[in-house]
Symmetry: C2
Amino acid sequence: MTQLEYALSGIVTKEMRIVAEYEGVDEEFILEGVKKGEIVIPSNINHKNLIPKGIGRGLSTKVNANIGTSDAYPEIEKEIEKLNVAVKAGADAVMDLSTGGDINQSRRKILENSPVPVGTVPMYQAAVESISKYGSIVAMPEEFIFEVIEEQAKDGVDFITVHCGLTFESLKKLKDNGRVMDIVSRGGSFTIAWMLHNDKENPLYKHFDRLLDIAKKYDITLSLGDGLRPGCLEDATDSAQIQELIILGELVKRARKAGVQVMVEGPGHVPIDQIEANVKLQKQLCHNAPFYVLGPIVTDIAPGYDHITSAIGGAIAAASGADFLCYVTPAEHLGLPDKEDVKEGVIAAKIAAHAADIAKGVKGAKEKDLTMARARKALNWDEQIKLSIDPDKAFKYRINKNISTAKTCSMCGKFCAMKIVSEYLGTSAMTC
Amino acid sequence: MTQLEYALSGIVTKEMRIVAEYEGVDEEFILEGVKKGEIVIPSNINHKNLIPKGIGRGLSTKVNANIGTSDAYPEIEKEIEKLNVAVKAGADAVMDLSTGGDINQSRRKILENSPVPVGTVPMYQAAVESISKYGSIVAMPEEFIFEVIEEQAKDGVDFITVHCGLTFESLKKLKDNGRVMDIVSRGGSFTIAWMLHNDKENPLYKHFDRLLDIAKKYDITLSLGDGLRPGCLEDATDSAQIQELIILGELVKRARKAGVQVMVEGPGHVPIDQIEANVKLQKQLCHNAPFYVLGPIVTDIAPGYDHITSAIGGAIAAASGADFLCYVTPAEHLGLPDKEDVKEGVIAAKIAAHAADIAKGVKGAKEKDLTMARARKALNWDEQIKLSIDPDKAFKYRINKNISTAKTCSMCGKFCAMKIVSEYLGTSAMTC
């Protein structure tokens, strides 16, 4: 049975208990959330070493890190290093987006080493292997995508991105209205190429029930992908994007009815003033399914800094109700991230998620800041470093910029406001 | 005459013309904005090499970089390097916050080398020099702060932060209601110490007219400082902060009446869900005076990454109507920033400002993103790098992660969505 089916039967699973404990909420709250489909717990029955996490309404905002080989960088070892860096930095999930080297091997190694839920985009493997097996992506038999999904499911993948809403109906909106960047989703582009070449409907839409059967068998959570997500601000919130979202909303209902856990993916590149509307629209059209946003990044002009453009967008999205942030690294739009990029990306997304959790009133969020504020007021540096989102970096800054015995810091030195005010207001027991 | 007085007389100055041209708006628009006090053009009559910038309603959001010596780092040369780095990265203004070494010398060197408006916090110099002259900060004669201001004004400082709203009235709110971090503003802490020790009202409030006389003489723009800005999320938007803001609003009227340009400073540490309210409140209470925010940073727990926490807050603030963002560097809360930190801080704030300008509909903002989107769609890498907010960094990423002849990038390689979709939709003339 899936977590959703257990919830519908009123059974609190081990996974629900772990999630409840982690979030500091009642088991009943998790049970109700899963039952309504407002919370998902991606946890494939075959992912043995998984520590499950919950994603959805009322829970802390989660962060995903994309890793995986590419044609130019096929080494699995590097991706395992990135996995470890991502988890250490606080990633709540990873996606293996491998398209280079031995894809099965990459995925299995990542699953074996990952304590966090692992997602994939099965269309990547299907497309890449179609080239060697059938000569091209477009020559892929419909059967093959389902074979790949089944194989990945058996391995223990916890959630899969499936671009089921990319249909001729949504594609028509794209063609009718035009776009600056058309389609920037890789899975979306493979799907479109296949559809146009074969003049056939997207198999993941047409045979959605078959997908549901596999998902149900292994309790894979479907992450309904937005193949038509905007690739630049100019294309944001257009008819193609929203048409696809409408279809995804319909599929959410079908998935839930089948007892399959489901969440919905969102943009992408979105101007600040459209982010809240995008979140509210998704929540409404998709019946409060958890919303997994890819960024969003809030300007197109900052390659090298897209961990920052997406931290801005992600914070606003999560504060507006998005539940799951896909990180963006400084390497986005320029190349495959290395492990330093992965770390920067995870930390930036964690900052966005945490800042949003304070705004959303998530349990325990603002208390962390209060503890830090007290350590700061007391000029307790050891405590400040310990409470930092990245203690290693905070420590490096502290020792490089200050003499070790300094009570204050080198920005204000003896003119530290904390110190002066404490002396005059007598509000702290601190002595300098 | 000040820019405000010229505007009130209906005269378009050279400074207004330069600002109008830079912003791509009519001179009349600038004239009207300055006349109403909704736009300021900080431009001391003695700052000879200044290229003036406008700050306020309808204009692009501006970014300030704080530089200046400290006790631990008194070398002026390093600060001139930081000035150059900041201006190259796109800072629209700098503040010289020197408190170490020869403060007059620092300021004069910075003014001499700065094409952008230079601000200071005169209380810093007054306090630091009071220690050598009078034995302590609290022993400072009232006269001395005005002498320092006059001297800085003569040198050509374009805007000064003056914590005039930190009065016994606002301090009472702090004492009555308590705070986790009391006062974190350096100028605020000096002022409070002086007030409590001498049991006398803040001289910058009591003798505000004298301040106005100096400001008027040199056309210094007053930046009414928020000495009671919150130093942690828990203290945000409390009665002390708002009491001070009410007083600042009253002083805005008095400054305008005297023909003195004035803007108002704001927080600080603010949770995401309180930022818009803070901006609207300032605009209302301060009669639409330009709003200069210090961040705001949206979580206390990310020392080492406060350029990111403040990019999130700054973007939301500016999109809500704030006009001027004071950068925050990764070194904030840990030590004095070095030139790398300065660059990171300026770029992060520029990203926030630009993303907000798109949301605010500032002229020319979204067009930059559209041009980038077109270059991306065409896989034109030279153009993408040229259009980047930091071409050096984008170029480094590109060459380090890709072979030089690659048309696509190493993230997707031959599976590039741009490439595949262009082939199938026939929307681009690109050939691979």
